[in-house]
Each structure stands twice: as C-alpha cells, then as structure tokens.
Symmetry: C2
Subunit: 496 residues, 2 copies
C-alpha cells in the first residue's frame, strides 16, 4: 500500500467514527426517547474519544509528515495532505480526556436546554452551560496563538476568520443596514395575516417535500424528518438528513426551513462521494455552507420568480386561506421587514441584528467579561438596543437557540457571512447562467444547481473560503453585494 | 481504581461501541435512504473492528484472569467475570479482519435481500448469501471443539444448546404436534374473513401503542417505528426500540407484532440499567428472550381474557368491520390453526413446523450437504412435506425472512424454544399470581409484568437458561407443558 493509500484508509476510518456519532446525534434530535439521554451522552463521548485517538495517532502523524514532502502527489492530493496536517496539529492540542469531557458535557447541556426551553426555566440550563463555557474558555486557551481568545473558536467554523474582521463587517451592518431598516420602518407595512391561518400539518409536509424535489434534493441519498430545531447532517454524501419544523398556525416555518436546509443538503449531496473521509469530500467552512442555504432560501426562495413557479401549488393545497391572495401579495408578505424576537423567523435584513447580538454576547462571554448567570439580562438589554423590542420570557429570548447547548460558540457569525457570500455569488450566477430568473420562474432549478455543483460543491475543501470567493467572483467577500441586493429589492417592495 | 472497576469501565466502553452499532442498524432498517447502504456497511464494519479490538485486548484478558481468582468478589461479580471470560475466550478466536469482513458482508447481504424480496429475484441475493454462508462455515470451524459444526452457531444464540438436543425436541414436535394438527384439520374451520377487511393504518397504529402501554411498555425509555420486518433492539435498558409492520388488509400483522415485540421490549427495559455493559445487564439467551415475547403474544395475547379487556377498543375503532362480531368469534378467528406460507403469520401450532424446516435447512447448509443455489428448491420441497403447501414464489418462500441476511444461522430454533419455555413459565405464573387470568381480563397486566421482572428480567445473565428454568419452575425445559397448553386450548376451540 502506498503512503497515500494508507493515509486514505486512516482518514476513512476516522470519518466512519465521526459519521457514526452523527447518526447518534441525529437520532438524539429526532427520535430518541427522553430517558435515552444519559447513556447516549456516554456513547457519544466514547466515540469522540476513539475518534480523537485515531485522529492524533503517531502513525497518522508520521505518514502526514512523509507525505507533506512527497512531490509525486497531484495538486488535489497535496492540498488534502496540507489540510489534514493542519487538522492533525490542531487535534494534537487536545487530550482525549478533554474531548470526551466536552462531548459528554455537550450531550448533557443539550438535554438541559430542551427542558429549560420547554419549561421557560433558564436555571435548569445555567449550571450545564457554565460548565460548557468553562470548557470552551479552556479550549480557546489550549488552541493558543490567536490575537483574540474568540478567534480560536471562530477558526473552528470559519478557518482564518478573525474577531477584528467581524468587527469591521458588523460596523457596516450597523451603519448601513440599521439606517436602511429605519427607512423601511417609516413606510406603511404590508399585510401578512393570511400566513398565520390554519395550515394542515400533512399538507405542509407534502408541499415541503415537493419544494425539495424541485430544488434537486435526491431522496435516494437523503430524507427529511421533524425536529424541534431544523438542521442538516450527513453520514456520507449519499446519506444526507434534513429536518424541518411545522407550525400549523404559521406556514413560514415549514417553507423557510425546507428551502434553507435543502440548500445545505444540496451542498452535502454534491460533495464527491469517491473522496469519502478526505478533505476533498468536505465542505469548506460554515460560511460557505451557509452561502448555499441562504442563496436558496433568500435569493431564490424569497423571489417573485420562485413563487410564480410554486404559488399555484400552495393555493391548490390551501384554497380557503389563499384563493383571494395574489402571488404579489404573497411575495410582499414573505418579505415583510420588521424587528422580531426569534432569529430563525426573522426577515433577511433584521436577521443580521440577531447575529450581531450573539456575536457581541459570545465575545464577552469567552473574554470573561460576562458570566452565564448574566446572559438573560444581557440578552434582553441587547434586544432592546438593536431591535427595539422587549423580550417577554427566556424561552423566546436567550433560550431560543440550540447552538450554545451544542458548544457552538463562534458559529453564529457564519450565518451572516453566508448571506453576504450568497449575495455575491448570486450576482455572478445571474451573469453566467442564461435567463436564470426565467428558468426559476418556470420551476427549472437545474441550471442553478448545476452551476453550484460546478463552482462550489465538487471542489470539497480544495479552496479556502477566500480563495473560492475570488475564484468564483474575482474578489474577496464584499458586503456591498448584500447591501445592493437589499437596497434594490426592498426599495421596490417598500416604495422607498 | 480497583481491578473490578477497571473491568467495568472496559466493558462499558465495549458496550458503547456495540450500542452505537445498534443505532446504525436500527436506522438502516427504519429510516436510511437506499443509497446510504454502501457507506453504512463500511461504518458498521469499522465499529465492529474497533469493538472487537477492545473486546480482545491484552489488558482486558489480564484483568479477567486476575479477577477470576479474586475471592473477595460478590457472587454476582464472580458470575460476571466468569461470563466475560467465556466471551473473551470466544472473541479471541476471531481476527479483527474476520469480524470486519463478516460485518461488511452482512450489511451487503441485507441490502441484497431487501431488493431480492421486493423483486422476487433470488439470484440478486444468492452471491451475497454464498459469501456469507462461506464465512459462517469458516466461523463454525474457527470456533472449533463442537460435536456438530452447527453447534458452534447455535451456541452464539443459545449457549449450551446442541444439535442433538434439538433433534430430540423436534422429534417430539413432529410426532406429537403433527398428529394433533391433523386432528384439527379434520374439523370444520372457523371464520376469520373479518380480519382481512380494510383497517386504517393510523387507527391501527394508535391501537398498537395503546396495547403496548397497557402491557407496561415505558415510552420514555423506548419507542415504536415501522419497518419491513418487525424487530426489537436497544441502546441501553433506557432506550429500547421496537418496530411494527401494518397491513391495512390484515389486522393480524399489527396486533401480533406489537404484542410480540412489546414482550421483548419489556425484558430489555427490565434489565438493570445500573449494570450497563456488564453480563448482569444482558439477556440470558435468545430462547429466554423469545419466552418473553411468546408469553405475551400467545399465552396472554391469544387468550379470551386478553380480548375481553381489549376487544371493545378494537370494535370502537373499527365498528363497520367488527360491530356484529362477538369477542368469542374474534377469539376463534385469531386462533385458527391452518398450515400457511409465512412463518411470522402462522398460528402458534404450525409455527413450529416452519422452525423445524429452517432447522433442517440450516443444519444441511452448515454441514455443506446443500449449497445456497439449492435453497429455493429444497425450501419448496420441505414446505410440501411438512405443511402440505405449494410455495408460489421465492418472495413468500425462501426469501420471506430477514435472518440469514443478518448472518443469523442457528437463530430460528430459539423461536420454538421460546414458545416452549413460555408455556412452562405460564403454568408457574398462574400458580403464583393470584387471579392472574382475571386481572388480565380487567386489563391489569401489572401483576404479570411484576412477576416477570422479579423472576426473569432483573437477573440479567446471572443464571443460564437451564438454571433459570429450574429456578422458576423446578425442572428443566419440558415440551410437555407446551403440548398440554396446546391440547387443552385447541381441543376446546375445535371441539376435539
């Protein structure tokens, strides 16, 4: 066996363990009965420990060092080795005990969050979250060598991203987007009462599957289930799972979670399965992942063209609610801009204020400027400041999101990055794909999916996020594209 | 850490891996999309390899040898060590490569079986099954030291059981049961046409959950899903999964699979969770496991008392089908004895002819007297011989059961053992539980469940099957109890 083949088989074994954990996690969030939690936490911790031992083994280290000077490798192989060596060196900073402790704490915190959210009781969650935050601070220290302690955590989701970069970016958000949203607020609001009539669960479910099919989601390589927080996970590019959440009193939840998670899923299904386990079969970063979900959700899904193709199906399914509502009214209703309490149901502009708030909180938390016990009041203060709204209870406030219970600190900013990348890619897609918007209006999503497969999906981790953005659009991430998109679309919608 | 604690933590780690595999298997049979199969096979194979390495590690071997002479241990601890040492020595006979090859071949054969059964095409399945049979013959050899090569495989499911014992037992089945069933066949048959009217899927589902709840199934420690072949699996005593299969044209499938798998599940939920990973938290043997499902399914579920408690619910759910059918007629219909094609829907008497056939086929296959290619014709011949029926196609013939695709050779005989143990336990339960049948008629299953918890479940693997049987009933397994049960019940039903 060549060195490269040995390396491949080691990486595949590590991937097998990680994907097995993903199955256990998926089950935990979809089907697992409540009392299953304790032993599940232990099982996940054991798998995490074994995965970590394999990922930091001497054998792998030796091979990687040998291969890193092997000039006979192809360019793709070289990039795989470079990426794997980077991951290896990062993993080496952790002890197996730390990895297992983190895994177990995450499972327990996740269970506590569920209960706390259901009972509107932050106190149930707080001690677990405290333990987790302590571990994350520790993790940031042991990763070392970063200008800001939060950088180490950001780097896990968006390699290379710095707190300083985000501060510049969010200054733009604050200055440009806040001003723009204020202009909108001065205008009369559109009607969206019909979005909140009774929409039958089963009918919604079938419609969601129909939208996914139209996007090109391959149901032989994936499926959709229900969970309390929609998510995408995968166990290989040939088994991609998404979840949705259906609210019979609000058609929005199903629509946006289906299209959003569908966009994530198309990226996973488009990664080369023959490279299973290799960096060349992995997504680049969460920002790029989110660019795929946001492009489908916002640039496609919140467009008039998309609903010209799909609104008749919706009207057929719910004639009592929608027969007298025109597609234009539906389009306006789904694009209402208005500060609101819940991030996942926010409009595509004020959405970024939610992310901004979490960025500021996380930074302060990791720096140690605030503590877990201060979170509810700090949260409520920020919502008043940026969104002008009172938070009525913790369930719809600080407890609304699952991420912290997963130990995902440094994750939220990638949501905004995703939207900004999406806007920049979208401009390029419209340039390169003939009659793109007409095709969407005809319900033909294939040209767009083909373009994304070609430009993004098939490359795995060959490019960094920055390289990919330059490769596709000729320049680095530029907030201007998002602001232009927002300003053209919403000036028309709100007659600015 | 004491030696015993070190041993416990090693066993728990092995259990974590095995239960993680169980989650992947459960998903494979319930929700996994078709293309997920290839990488799932690889992931399961990796987990099997890691599990095997841990289960045969030098460290564990050393500890077990030390502990096996430690007189300070309690009786339960000593039995755990004895059992673990036995398992360790058996595991040592396998190489990791063999375990991984077997795991991968099983996943592939399972997929092929699914396709072959759906398409009625044995040829799709045959090459995979051939590979698997070759591996099982090899396994029988490497396990060595058995009077008959089939003994080695039996021993995996029913420790201590011998081919020679089964030959004696099945001679009784042939002589006594065949004669008895012939007497029944001479009598006029009861009507069961109303069992095959239209029964709505959702209504059936809800009824099934209701029956499970009444039995004492804890839905916080388990759940039911749908699969093509009903089964029970567990990821700890606090997460027990069962599946059912619903046929809208036949109410029997749901009823019997719910009660049967429910019986298995109650055993798993009754194992002591504080002993997770230890033999003291494991079931004794498949025969004893099956005694729990059969006792609930047949001795309880096919009794008039049980339906006096539950038939009104069924009538309420399906008035069009059942309003003019009395509980006596329903009881007679569910106990029709008649040779049939499909094992899982056979009556409780001819059922054992199905097992007998599989026993004879497996024995011949493992001995090398027949080959995989001969299976369909051999199968059809046996069905003609023992059940007097023509097999119309392989899907309802040799392809009907999942077990061989799982590599489970030596498994079927435990189904008959289970019924025979159940009959023997049932006699004892009626002696020891006051008014047992009256309590069942009132829908109160608690006294029976408490008795099973006390007599069977809580002990884990402390006793062997034979020891347990003696402990509970004062004697070894005795076919007489089953024959008595059958003869009293069916003489009344068929007016013999």
């Amino acid at each position: 066996m060549s060195n490269y083949s040995s390396y491949q088989s080691m990486l595949r074994k590590i991937a097998d363990i990680q994907y097995a954990s993903a199955v256990l996690n998926w089950d935990q969030e979809t089907y697992m009965p409540s009392k299953g939690a304790t032993f599940r936490a232990q099982q996940l911790s054991t798998l995490a420990g074994i995965g970590h031992e394999l990922a930091t083994s001497k054998e792998l280290g030796k091979l990687l060092h040998l291969l890193s000077t092997d000039n006979s490798l192809s360019e793709k192989e070289k990039r795989n080795i470079k990426q794997s060596l980077k991951t290896f060196n990062e993993n080496k900073k952790y002890t197996t005990e730390f990895v297992q402790e983190l895994s177990k704490t995450i499972s327990e915190t996740f269970q506590a969050w569920h209960k706390a959210k259901a009972d509107n009781n932050f106190a149930v969650y707080a001690p677990h979250l405290e333990k987790l935050v302590t571990l994350k601070r520790e993790e940031s220290k042991l990763l070392g060598d970063f200008a800001h302690p939060y950088d180490a955590l950001l780097n896990q989701f968006e390699p290379g991203l710095k707190t300083a970069d985000l501060e510049v970016l969010f200054t733009d958000v604050r200055e440009q987007l806040v001003t723009f949203v204020k202009k909108i607020a001065a205008k009369p609001q559109n009607n969206d009462a019909f979005m909140y009539l009774y929409y039958d669960r089963e009918m919604q479910w079938d419609l969601g599957l129909n939208l996914l099919k139209q996007m090109g989601f391959d149901f032989e390589s994936g499926r959709q289930d229900a969970s309390s927080h929609p998510f995408t996970t995968n166990f290989s590019p040939e088994d991609v799972r998404i979840t949705t959440r259906i609210n019979e009193q609000d058609i929005n939840e199903m629509i946006w979670s289906c299209i959003h998670e569908g966009g994530h899923a198309l990226y996973e299904q488009g990664l080369p399965s023959e490279e299973y386990g290799m960096p060349s079969s992995e997504y680049i970063s969460l920002g790029i992942h989110e660019s795929q979900s946001r492009l489908w959700e916002n640039n496609v899904g919140r467009s008039l063209q998309y609903w010209k193709a799909n609104y008749p199906k919706l009207q057929d399914a719910f004639p009592e609610n929608l027969k007298s509502v025109s597609v234009q009214s539906f389009y306006k209703a789904m694009n209402i801009v208005k500060p609101s309490l819940i991030r996942t149901s926010a409009d595509e502009l004020t959405y970024h204020f939610h992310v901004l708030i979490r960025f500021e909180i996380e930074k302060a938390l990791i720096e140690g400027l605030i503590e877990v016990k201060d979170l509810p009041s700090y949260w409520n203060l920020k919502y008043k400041e940026y969104l002008g709204i009172e938070v009525p209870d913790d369930s719809s406030g600080v407890l609304q999101d699952i991420h912290w219970s997963h130990g995902s600190f440094g994750y939220f900013p990638t949501y905004s990055l995703g939207s900004f990348y999406a806007a920049q890619f979208w401009v390029q897609a419209k340039k390169e794909i003939e009659e793109l918007e007409n095709e969407i209006e005809k319900g033909n999503m294939k040209p767009l999916l083909d373009w994304l497969r070609e430009k993004v999906h098939r490359h795995g981790k060959f490019y960094s996020a920055e390289e990919l953005c330059i490769e596709i659009t000729g320049e680095k991430l530029n907030f201007k594209y998002f602001m232009d998109y927002a300003s053209i679309k919403y000036s028309k919608l709100y007659d600015l």
